[in-house]
């Protein structure tokens, strides 16, 4: 699997390259500035891009903008965005086109190599990987909602919803909660019924529906 990596700090870039290579990814390019990233994304056609939000030369949200631009040119181009901080605002922009193949994680998540690599693979496959912090913010906002549809969920269902919104498959959720996949499937259909969402067999579409539901304005 070919990866384009954009990170301006040498130590982190180097570490990420080694981490990804250790898991048999092929590093097509490891760049450090926005313009380089734009070129790499256009010319190298990677399977997935791992991009830091803040890049030179402006040190603003250059990386995020590059990723969004590239996805406009090539809809569905898998991009995993990394940052020192997560903002719902950015998550919303990344998810806006509704095509999936998007990840948005705190840099801390690379500490857990297994999970991080899993997120990269998921995004490359057109799935979603949202940082638990983003999801928690979304959930706490919705929990303060007046008619509180989330209040009708059981604690277990909330837990499943949270993991589902992060982009995990039923199998992964089952493993994490140490239950059978059938149990998770049952929870999932309950959640969808309680929130009034349409059930979909497609994992990706399911995640996007949940995220759209959580992020809608009240």
């Amino acid at each position: 699997m070919r990866v384009v990596l954009a990170e301006d700090l040498f130590l982190l870039r180097d570490g990420l390259v080694r981490l990804l290579q250790a898991y048999d990814f092929e590093i097509a390019a490891a760049v450090e500035t926005g313009p380089e990233l734009a070129r790499a994304l256009a010319e190298l056609e990677p399977d997935v891009a791992v991009v830091d939000v803040r890049l030179p030369p402006t040190h603003t949200d250059e990386g995020l903008q590059c990723a969004l631009d590239a996805r406009r040119d090539r809809p569905g181009l898998p991009v995993l965005v990394l940052s020192q901080h997560v903002e719902q605002l950015y998550a919303r922009e990344l998810l806006a086109d509704g095509t999936g193949g998007v990840g948005y994680l705190l840099k801390d998540r690379v500490f857990d190599a297994e999970q991080f690599v899993d997120a990269v693979r998921r995004v490359a496959a057109g799935g979603t990987a949202m940082d638990p912090q983003v999801i928690q913010q979304l959930l706490s906002r919705r929990a303060a909602d007046d008619n509180r549809p989330l209040g009708r969920l059981t604690p277990r269902e909330l837990e499943v919803l949270e993991l589902m919104a992060q982009g995990r498959s039923n199998a992964a959720i089952a493993e994490k909660l140490v239950v059978t996949e059938r149990a998770i499937a049952k929870h999932t259909s309950n959640i969808f019924a309680k929130l009034g969402l349409e059930v979909s067999d497609d994992d990706n579409r399911r995640v996007l529906a949940v995220l759209a539901y959580l992020d809608q304005d009240r």
Partner: protein
Amino acid sequence: MTTEAKNGSGSGNGGTRVRGVARAALRGLGLALVVLPGAVTCFVLSVVSIALIPVGVGIVTTPWVLTGVRAYADWRRVLAAEWCGVPIPSAYRPLPKDANPWTRTFGMLRDPATWRDLWWLPVDMTAGFVTALLSAALLFYPLEGFAVAAGLWRVLPDGYWYGFVHVTDQASAFGAATLGLALLFFTPFLTPRLLEGHFRLARAVLTSGQGELAERVRVLTETRRDAVDTSAAELRRIERDLHDGAQARLVAMGMDLGTIEVLVEKDPEQAKRLLAQARQSSAEALTELRELVRGIHPPVLAERGLGDAVRALALRLPVATEVSVELPGRVDAPVESAAYFAVSEVLTNAVKHSGADRIWVDLHHTDEGGAVLRISVTDNGRGGAAIGAGSGLAGVERRLGTFDGVLAVSSPAGGPTMVTMEIPCALS
């Protein structure tokens, strides 16, 4: 900054003009009635009190008397601004709060503003009194002329003079009325001017010519002190947070790693456990640093500017918040940061205390009357917010002061609450 139209000399329709003139005349009358006894009392008390200083009694009484004089002068300053739009800056030197009578007395006497006050009192009781009285007389004297013509002349003592008209019979009474009419012709023009003249006179005597400058210096000194205090406190807080937080965790991590080095062959199980602990420590250190950075300068502010930073902030609130932004450019970095934290504080206040279920934030930049960043935060909560001591709003006001920014709160009981902030600034 003048409110010329207020006193009726500006253009307007007939009704408001008449009302304006009548109001000016009544105000003049009121002033004349208060000015003479007020100024005389203040002046006499001041002179006596200062004269008694060598005896000792004066040291105790002078601060009281001079404070009274200042209150009297300040009252006139307020009237000047409210009635005629004549600003008279108040530029007394601040006195230490817990000073003894001695320092208070001599502190006050060393202040040139005190001597300007004392010089103003005799002017006020003479020229000030006359201008105020004249502005009233110009309306009431003609009215008396009409009254004389209408029959009042019959009860007046013989040989009553109305102006230069000797009133003896109905014919001469009509003469008086004619004179009154002629006078009345000037009234709409002169009465407001005289009243304004009264305040301009007070301003001429009360300000040193450098009064506005002195006031500006005072404000700058105060806001600078606030800014220095706040930033020192901020640095202290950051130092403490780093010292007790991230730094301590890194020490713990280093220690764990050292232990792991020793244990890795002797007791691999224990080494693994410590490794997990070290990783946990590093994750916690990162979380703490992230929070700290957010408190110093939120990354989204650096990345996106004020508008999106406030939008991102709104998305974190538990209350539904609508943000509208109209900023055609980036605001200067220091102003941006101050504005962000001001909005953040006001929003936190609204969420905590108002009980609102909706908040609206409006951010826009206008060039009308100087380039200004205007921010309003409105909630539909229970109201009753005030810029009191110790409230978050007072802190916001102080911090905005560094940028010559101002804050106004409108929060009637029952709501809604609207906090408006204005900071002069240009866009880049």
